[in-house]
Amino acid sequence: MISAIGWIIIWIGVLFDVLGAIGLVRFPDVYNRLQASTKCVTLGTFGIMVGIFMIHGFSAMGIKALICGAFLLLTNPVAAHALMKGSLHFGVKMWKGTIVDNYGKDKLGSEQIERGGG
């Protein structure tokens, strides 16, 4: 019974992984891509790890899977945040449909929004 629930959670996790990759391809600029892919892939891989823990229970593999999942959940938002700050300081422009940029106004001098063209 618990094993069946574990398999269902693994399937849901893999599905979210694919949706994150599709979001990575479809969204128009770095910041939206980072947003979509980080959320979906983090929950997807965490789901795979929780599913492995449910199938194997308290054995060597289950505990390691759980530790790996907790580690991903703690470090992945930090990595995404660092990449986003790096992109902002690097000077990558935002998509032309962006409506407000308070960070650029306060820290970088002007709004980092792509104008015209495209």
Binding site: F16, L19, G20, I22, G23, R26, F27, P28, D29, Y31, N32, L34, Q35, A36, T38, K39, C40, T42, L43, S59, A60, I63, K64, I67, L73, L74, P77, V78, A80, H81, M84, K85, L88, M94, W95, G97, T98, I99, V100, D101, N102, Y103, G104, D106, K107
Partner: protein, 161 residues
């Protein structure tokens, strides 16, 4: 004091990772954890025993399922935006102000904001957080703080302060 707590925590983590009670493993592991304690114990939190108080653990146990529920909702939301043929997004970076005081509470608030619907932390500057929002509902500072941060601050203040 904090060095002893750090040593015990690291040793428990190592036991979980190796999952064996062989005496060689225990001795070698204790030596490695001791080196780590001497090198990095100074960066550990000031009052580690604070986190063993019962009410903090209870609030944390309530917080985790709510957080997982917000995460699932966030993913369905993002998946809807990615699969919709017209891509209904209206992104922007807004400022919010947090009322949390300690550093570790702010770190957990930033991570929680990153993993929940449509919002993502760009930078922290004192008590001002810059948030990238995929569907901007309000550009006002107080209004945005109320929408984004207040639902987590209630819990995090009781856990970490």
């Amino acid at each position: 004091m904090r060095y002893i707590i750090y040593f015990i925590t690291g040793f428990i983590l190592l036991l979980l990772l190796t999952w064996s009670t062989n005496i060689d493993h225990l001795i070698a592991g204790a030596a490695v954890v001791l080196v780590g304690t001497v090198l990095f114990g100074g960066y550990f939190t000031d009052r580690p025993l604070k986190f063993l108080q019962l009410h903090r653990i209870v609030v944390f146990a309530i917080y985790v399922p709510i957080f997982v529920w917000y995460m699932v909702k966030a993913n369905i939301d993002v998946a809807y935006r990615a699969l919709h043929p017209e891509r209904p997004i209206k992104p922007g970076i807004v400022k919010i102000r947090t009322t949390l005081k300690t550093d570790i509470a702010r770190v957990f608030l930033a991570n929680s904001i990153t993993l929940t619907p449509g919002t993502m932390t760009c930078d922290i500057d004192g008590d001002i957080l810059y948030i990238h929002w995929i569907w901007v509902q309000s550009e006002d500072l107080e209004e945005a703080s109320r929408i984004i941060a207040s639902r987590f601050e209630v819990f995090l203040r009781r856990i970490f302060e």
